[in-house]
Symmetry: C5
Subunit: 269 residues, 5 copies
């Protein structure tokens, strides 16, 4: 019998920065129809607010392919700050020349599977009743401690790498293969195996996981940053053979882009 049977199935999870991905297509005919002077004025007027955004945790990427010409990625302290970004962008004249083709709303997340197995197991042995005041207090204390220790990972700086790869994903809930019905110890085992692959790429790829249950149409968003885009393919391909990916991962659209520092890089004709 699984020692965690009868205990909560949801792992301890820490939340950090609010994250907004925005994908845009440039309305080229309308943009080109402007005089050079007007275009310059519009780009100039956007430079300061976009520069301020970048200082506050945003970055701009030139996307490859038809899904968009540019992607903005924003890390902020909460959703209020993300909504302010949207309102600020809508007030820029350049907004009329950008068509929002997609977006993703999420929150930086650390799933503490190892801690969950340990802490639930320990409280289970000590017969602490789930959701009792004692249970809740012990969990709150543990989360508080981990939240403090992991502050830099919960509110990350924008990684400095040249390339980004973003995609959303779900855990499968099939009629036979259902992630949410696996015992926690089994999920923890699979996540650990998965993490070992990631650690071998630690020097070349920076990964930021964000949770989007309740916020967007997939359960998680994954951002990878690297200077060489080929490592995205190698990492994800290798991981696809992990049980947790092979059986339980469902993927949405993939976005690949290269960092740019100013809109003018893209919009100058």
């Amino acid at each position: 019998m699984d020692k965690l049977e009868g205990l909560p199935a949801v792992p301890l999870t820490l939340e950090g920065a609010g994250v907004l991905h925005q994908m845009f297509r440039v309305r080229w005919p309308a943009w080109r129809a402007l005089s050079a002077a007007e275009r310059e004025a519009i780009v100039d007027a956007a430079a300061a607010p976009l520069g301020a955004m970048e200082k506050a945790g945003s970055a701009m990427f030139s996307l490859l392919g038809h899904k968009g010409d540019v992607m903005l990625v924003h890390f902020r302290k909460d959703f209020d700050a993300l909504i302010e970004i949207e309102h600020c962008l809508a007030r820029l004249r350049v907004w009329d020349y950008l068509e929002l083709t997609s977006s993703y709303v999420s929150v930086v997340e650390l799933g503490l599977y190892e801690s969950s197995v340990r802490l639930y197991g320990s409280m289970g042995e000590r017969k602490v009743a789930p959701h009792s005041p004692e249970w809740d207090a012990e969990i709150a204390e543990n989360m508080q401690r981990q939240r403090a220790a992991m502050q830099p990972r919960l509110f990350p700086e924008m990684p400095p790498h040249r390339f980004i790869c973003f995609y959303p994903m779900d855990r499968r809930r099939g009629e036979e293969k259902n992630w949410y019905q696996l015992p926690m110890t089994e999920r923890q085992r699979q996540m650990q195996e998965h993490g070992e692959v990631g650690r071998r790429y630690a020097g070349t790829v920076k990964q930021i996981i964000s949770g989007s249950i309740g916020f967007d149409d997939w359960e998680w968003g994954v951002d990878l940053f690297a200077d060489d885009p080929l490592v995205f393919k190698r990492l994800i391909y290798e991981m696809r053979f992990d049980e947790v990916s092979a059986v339980y991962a469902l993927f949405g659209s993939f976005y690949i882009g290269r960092r740019i520092s100013r809109l003018a890089e893209l919009l100058s004709l």
Copy 2:
């Protein structure tokens, strides 16, 4: 043998307010092309009808992401009143600057699984034939009583919280896992387990369930209201491990927004 075998499978269900969700994108280039005076006149002309709508049970939300800039949520006594809203909005000049990107039509619903098990069980023991006049009368009397008692939940006030999370959902009818083929007592058990998770969040999240079978493309709509949007994620993630969600829930798109009181908050440039 299940004591409810051979009895009706559909649970007693109370209906209340008609509900309409409307998601809009602002046509920014056309809006910005207007003079400041025209924009002000258009917003001013919309203020009174929108204010009256709010008093009558509507609320306005600034959406996060590309699915829309604004969402209107309307609770009304019936569908006639919802149709009047649509006709009223179409007559406003601001309507020309709003593009309806999505919507959802439903009716506030309370599924009385516990009462159904109790009442069907009792009538079954007493050999009352399903759909006989006696059966129908007893059910009508029970529903009438519950409808009176639950009036405030059937015709709810718009909750005052800052954030909203809306999503539609289905119960799975897979080839092997089929909600509609489970015995009622099993469905009742799973719904009760599910409800227990919800009750632990009662202080922080207000939930309104509406039914949309026959009205829209999913079977139910779920509205969550809270001041801290992170609790949406925590609640839904925890619930996803419940059997009724893990196995039987299929989800549509998720919409997340923050309450605004006037269109001008969004449309002022």
Copy 3:
């Protein structure tokens, strides 16, 4: 052994009126850009042809939600008459202000499962070879008789109720659960059970089934008419627990609307 084994699997089916559903969105900005006089002239010019259509078996509904502002439903003697409607509408100036967002093409249909079981069974006992002249003649005679008897249901009047609910549906052909591989007696049994639920709603809901195999993307269209739209939900929800729906029904989009008698009700500003 099933007494119908080896006999044709397709049930006897009568066809009646050609049916066309057309869903439209109003192009509000273009419409509002017209002068009041122009709008009046356009609506006036459409009044006579639309009135004639209504007399010939058409009705107009104001739709709830973003799928469209208006739905036209046409019952006609054949597809030629439906094509004439399309050509006639395209010639109206108001056509430029209506965007066709969806449609559905079908034929009123009565699936004679009971007769099929009886007739095939009787001919089977009498060793009449399927598709022999004798077989064909007996079927033709039977169909002729039923067609005459059911003329009013095959070429129905537009029901006078205030609300309509329309949706298309398929019978499931899953890898394990496959409607088209069930023996006819089993299909007949499930359809009969299904029909019993419908009969309990006979006083409040009028149902018209049309077949669309070969004509549109789903196999059947269902039109429900009632004065109280809540009965749509109650009927369909109750039916969803029937085996034939729980296991074998797949549904497309649902459209809900309220009858209007003149376009001006919708288009007047």
Copy 4:
């Protein structure tokens, strides 16, 4: 053991005419905005090239429903000729008033299941090694002979019937039910059963099958021609109970239209 085991699984297949289906919506507001004289000039200018196309194996249909106002169907000797059609159409002024909403690219195909079973079986008995020069020569000789005999079916005339029904389809490759893993003799048996239904409709329906593996998003296209459109429904409904359709057929969108001889029938206001 199946006598064809170890032999090639792909049936002998003859290819004939290249086929292009093009579905269009008329841009009514732009078309109506032209003067009557301009419209006449544009239609006149298109009459000769469209007339020439018709002589060369094309036909025009007025579609029912929102998927398009008109469908062009072209049979030509090869893909080069189809590309010429596209370039020719794009050069017509009327092209600006037609919006291409869909299309289908395929090649008239005859799948020779019976011959394959016979020929493979015979060569298998004679121990001819698959893909050996002897094997290839015998197949080439057989195909050559059949190609000559079936020339009229491979390069068909446009049938003269009033109505067309077009739809694309796949053979299912499910996890359990997989057409491409059935033994050839089993596929041959199912295709033959299927063909028997078709033959009973031979007098009223003309069927042209085209293959689109490698050319478009489904594996086959099916064109049915008849004077009475109801026979499309009867034929396809009856076939849906065949094992090969019930279990192994997946269908795309259905298009139904009536032959027109000149664009002016549609475009005159």
Copy 5:
């Protein structure tokens, strides 16, 4: 027991040229609205940059069907060069008359299943621990050697054939049939069988496989080049009966086009 059990499951994979497919529709009404002189000037201005692109590894195709009028295929040394192409194209005036309808981002890839089985097997027998420095060094050395030998296949010239067929594909990860859970020796066996079919077509079809995990929405892209487009159908149909395709291949949209050397071939009116 499989001798590769416990060893890495991901095959050795070589990457070469970055690949970008771009599908466009011509904005015919806007293009035709230009004067002949303007059109000529725009086409002339595009000739030099497009000519330079062709010299650098690009080709232009006239597509059949509504998915696009033209497809550009670019092979380049890396993603930076592909991004430069996008920026260069956006600066051309002709860009305003081309609507990007789809695209595909990938990297030429050679999956070395045979080498993987041999090398992993050999190191496994010698008890070299996976991911140890010794393991990594031996693999790096092997890859380096093969990369050098296969340079022409990794950075291919644009094949000179008249026709192209492009489609993306996935390997199935079903609940029961899951490519990523097969032992490597089994995957190697199926890929080898698959390759044998391809080799029989070697003289008539040139195939270039590119990997897109992490870059686009499918796992691989397949480009086929041939002078006779019918061989695409024959090759893919025959392969569809291979176990690796029948069971494990899922396909996206298919694009078929004919090489053109200058945009003017398409755009001249």
